[in-house]
Structures are given as C-alpha cells and as structure tokens.
Symmetry: C2
C-alpha cells in the first residue's frame, strides 16, 4: 500500500491511503489519525490500512483526486532521522571535495549521522536560506521507516523491521559543512530540514526491485528541469538491514525511526562515474558533480551550488515508467524573517 | 509549575502536575494527554496547567502521592534533542583525554551535537550495556524544552521560547567515542539513550537562581552514593539563549525541542578544578575526573569508567536544600537479548 499525510493545519497532518497510480486517495484517519499513530501500533493497524488500500483500488470506498502538492512529508516530524552513507562513491567524492581523509574502516563500518527530525519540509516546500553563501546542495536518497528495533538487532532482524520506503532530499549546506565537521561534533548547522517524497510505500509495492534491503532502480534527480542524476539506488555498499542494525548497536530504535541510505551514487569501471551530459549515470548531489568537474578539468568546478530560484526534483519510476513515490520538487528561496 | 509524565504503558505516558515539594501529583491529562501535546499548544494550555498547579498547592483538587520511580522522562520521546557543550572546562578536559585539539573558535561558536530522541530512558531506568568495554560515563547537565523557534532567532528571542527546565544524564560511551568521532560524522553509536529528571519545571519555579538563560545552582552528581560533582551550573560560557539560537541558525526548531547545556563543569583559579575529595567542586562526568587524575599523577587515571552494578545519581537542590527536579538515579546493567 501507499500512504501519505495531507496538510490539514495540524502539526502531524492527516493520514490517507493513496492509489497505486497516485491519482486518488481515501481518508485513513479513522484507523489512525497520523502516520506516527499507525506506526506506533503497526501490527494492529496495518492490516486495516491494507484492506482500505485494496478497496481504494477497486473503487469501493469514497475517494478524491490526490495532488502531490497537498502532501506533507509522510512523517511531518519524526522521533529520529539517522542517515547512513552507503554509497562509497559519494563518500569518496565529497571527502575529496572537502580535502578530508576517507575513514579507516569505511568498507566495514557504516558512516551514519544523527539528523534533525522535528521539522521536515513538505515535498513541494521551498528550501529557505538566509544566505546563498551557505552553499545549499540537493542530496537524493532512499529512506526506510522502521518499527521498534531492539538494541543489538542483527541485520536480518533489522530487515524484518522495515515498514515503509520513501525518497529524501537531505538538504546540505556545503558552505558550512567543513567548519562544522572540523569542530568534531557532526554536521549540525550544515544539515537543515530534509524533505521526503509525497508517498511512503510498503516494500511489497516495489516488486522485484526490492530484495528485502535494497531498492534497485535509478533515482531521477533533476536540476532546473535537466537530468543531474540517474544513479541506481541498488548499488549500496551497506544495505538497509545493515544500516538499521548499525543504528541499533548501542540503543533501541523506536517505531517511526527514519533511516536514510545516504546520497545515491554509482561507480563506473572502478572510477567515479560520469555526468549525465557525458552519457553517465550522473550524480544525486552537486558536490559530486563539482568534484568530478574539478578532477577532469584539473581546475575548478563549473557547476555552481544551488542558487536562489533553482529547482531540484527527485523521483523514482518503476519498470513501467510510473512514479512510485511521487516527486520531491523544491525551489531555493531567500529566507526573510 | 512542575510537570511530570507518569508511566502508563503508552509510549508517551500521562501528563501530571506535581506539587512544588514533589510529594503529590494531580492528573493533568484532561487538559493535554501528554507533555508533547501541551507543548504543541502551549499558549492555550499552559495557563490551565498553571491554574491546576495552584489548586494542587492549596489542596483543592484530588491528588495522590508522587513517586519519582513511577515517572518517565518528562518527554519519553521527543522530536529533537540537541546538546550543546557550554562549559569549556569540560570541553578542554575531554578533548585532552581523547588527544584531540580544541576547536578554533570554541569561545565564540558553540559546540552542539544532534542526539537521538526517539527512546529516552526514564529517570530510574537502568543503563543497559551489551559490553562493559563500551566505557559508559555519566554526564550531568541542565536542559531546556523550547516552544517553536523560527530560523534565525536571536539569543534574546530564543530565551523567550524557553518553556521548561530539567536535568539530564547524557549517557556517553567513552570506549566508542574516539572511533566514532574519527569518522567525522559525530558521536552516533557513542551516545545511546539519555535520561531526564522526573520533573520539568517552568522557569518561574527557579527564583533568583534563573537569570532567564542560566541556572546558577550546584549540580549534585553522585557515584555509588559518594559525591562526584557539585559544579555550579551557572558558569556557562554560552547561555541557553545563545545555545537555542545556535541550534536555530539554519532551520526552525519545533515545539518540544530539547536543548542541553553540555556537562556542567567549573574552572578553579584558571585551572581545571579539583575533585570533591580534594575539596573542589568535582566533576559531572568521570572522563573529567580521570583526566585530572592522569594530569596530577603524571600517569594513569585511578577511577574507572562505569562498571556493571555502579549507580549514578543526578539532582539539584534549591537554596533551602529541597530537590527541584527529583533525582535521576540509574544503575549500569548488562544487556541480555
């Protein structure tokens, strides 16, 4: 089934079930007012949501037109957002761009940072910056929402706790990241609010593209209407089972915890890949493209980071070319207090 | 007023008002089911909670005996936990113990990390470790819960958004911290669930000890019944207004966001202070004491990090010697799956 949260003025919005083709929705708030409420009691509520979803497909319940721009992030606020970095091509290129070393055990010990989860952006909300020099970047990712996960869960157990899958724009402020990271306490100010896709789906909606812990489809990332990235999200070095288990090593995770894949990125013939314009799979963030441009020219990147007025779009399509999660589409705007 | 959350089997517990002397409580769930619900609509609900608190003091509402061990953390789960490090003596000693440099702008740019907030410990819950070698440590701190804070709020505006004050044990795993920090993404696995005091209080309960952004009282931290720390929490290098404004620089903060002070620590005559046993104000974490021991002996620390069976207690008393927030008291136990 596909679930969304419609903006209704309340902090957590209203839970709805969306049709597979994303054209219709039906109110699900009589089963659970919010998505978090459904996740808090998933074993009991999910079967009823699934029944409602089937009724929506057969047209046997009242429904209305689904507009992606009416949707909030599936969880408008969450109790946890932990973002991995499972595509090593991304890690290599971004570290190179910051002039920092690769971590010693990067192939065996996942990178993960704790993100802010109190105020996610809706998928069509602007990215507000007080200063263009903050150097905003898009980061296209896949994320899962898990059920309760006990401390010390194995990767296999963690896989079994995955309830929903969605897309993320993990907005990053490259202009602030190096100074923040140098302080040693993580990204803090350089990771403002993230945005998630209009729809979160249960893994069974993903068919063969989902192997239980990885989603093997290209992630479409566009900048101002032109393709920036078409990297395959299936090429994770650590799968979601491993990432969730990593997050749960020293503490339990509560239902509704969101775990991200990190920026989707593909190697090509052992190298860092090629821009879409050069026939490659491209990149899901500008920092990677800029680093590749700098490496290839032996000089400076030619593509700038995001500027006021720029629009980024993140979407994923199934084998038939249909949007699975709806699109994140955000314009960068000047923040005025 | 003083607010607490009683364990009732639900994830967010039940909101109650507690008497000033911490002996009685009255149910407040008819006003707001949970503390987060009260914070979500504070302007409307707080006056009613205040009225109820006055009725409790005068004995004009039904009340029951308040037992601190029945309390959960005031927010059993929160949408954000952002912990500063406002006591530079702590920063200096802990960095020294890890052999890492002081950040360049440490006196003008606050340190802050994003913590996990999905599964806080209750104030009397055990600290569960799968492995004693994780090197658990207590970190005694003060924390505030804020209302909505817009992006770019000034320190003065941020002060005005402080709704509640409480104590924290920001449990830290010293055995894992250095390796985690070396990866560059923050503490992640080395900061498991934190515990908060049984009671959160509105600033007006703090009298002259609260100047609007700092709480000038000694924090009592005990290890196995003996005093470890009596450091004054008022000696912050950055006050809570500055810490909250720092957190809100690039994004808004949602109501219910918890912001911590960092481990309370006092300098003495320009030096790193002295253990309680040597007549000093002591330390609110073991890492500081251990570093001071190592420096003084020119060798190794003699006090070990927390071991299975150790008990830590954190409490703060008003000028009259009465506990303000109740006590955090936790025993370290072996986690068995």
């Amino acid at each position: 089934m596909k679930l969304a949260t419609l903006k209704n003025g309340a902090r957590d919005g209203k839970l709805v079930v969306v049709s597979r083709d994303l054209t219709r929705f039906t109110d699900a708030s009589f089963l659970a007012q919010t998505l978090q409420a459904a996740l808090d009691d998933w074993q009991r509520i999910a079967p009823h949501l699934a029944t409602l979803a089937e009724s929506l497909e057969t047209g046997s319940v009242p429904s209305s037109r689904f507009h992606e721009h009416d949707a909030h992030s599936p969880l408008p606020r969450a109790y946890q957002w932990a973002d991995g970095s499972a595509y090593l091509n991304h890690v290599e290129l971004v570290r190179k761009s910051r002039g920092s070393e690769m971590p010693a055990n990067v192939e065996t010990d996942p990178l993960m940072y704790q993100g802010g989860s109190d105020a996610f952006l809706a998928p069509r909300d602007p990215i507000l910056l007080a200063d263009e020099a903050w150097g905003a970047d898009v980061e296209g990712e896949v994320a899962v929402i898990v059920d309760d996960v006990p401390m010390g869960a194995t990767a296999k157990q963690a896989r079994g706790a995955i309830r929903l899958v969605m897309l993320v724009n993990d907005v990053s402020l490259r202009g602030l990241a190096a100074a923040e990271l140098a302080k040693g306490f993580g990204f803090f100010q350089s990771k403002p609010s993230s945005a998630f896709s209009p729809v979160a789906v249960t893994p069974d909606e993903l068919g063969d593209a989902w192997d239980g812990a990885k989603l093997a489809l290209p992630l479409h990332v566009d900048l101002n209407g032109k393709p920036l990235g078409r990297a395959n999200a299936g090429e994770m070095h650590f799968d979601f089972g491993q990432l969730v288990a990593h997050a749960a090593r020293t503490r339990p995770l509560a239902a509704g915890t969101v775990v991200g894949s990190g920026t989707v990125s593909n190697k090509l013939d052992g190298g860092h890949g090629k821009p879409v314009s050069a026939g490659g799979a491209g990149y899901s963030c500008l920092a990677e493209l800029r680093m590749v441009e700098a490496l290839e020219s032996g000089g400076k990147a030619k593509t700038p980071l995001l500027r006021f007025g720029d629009t980024v779009r993140i979407e994923m399509k199934d084998a038939g070319g249909h949007s699975i999660f709806g699109a994140i589409e955000q314009t960068v705007e000047k923040y005025e207090r």
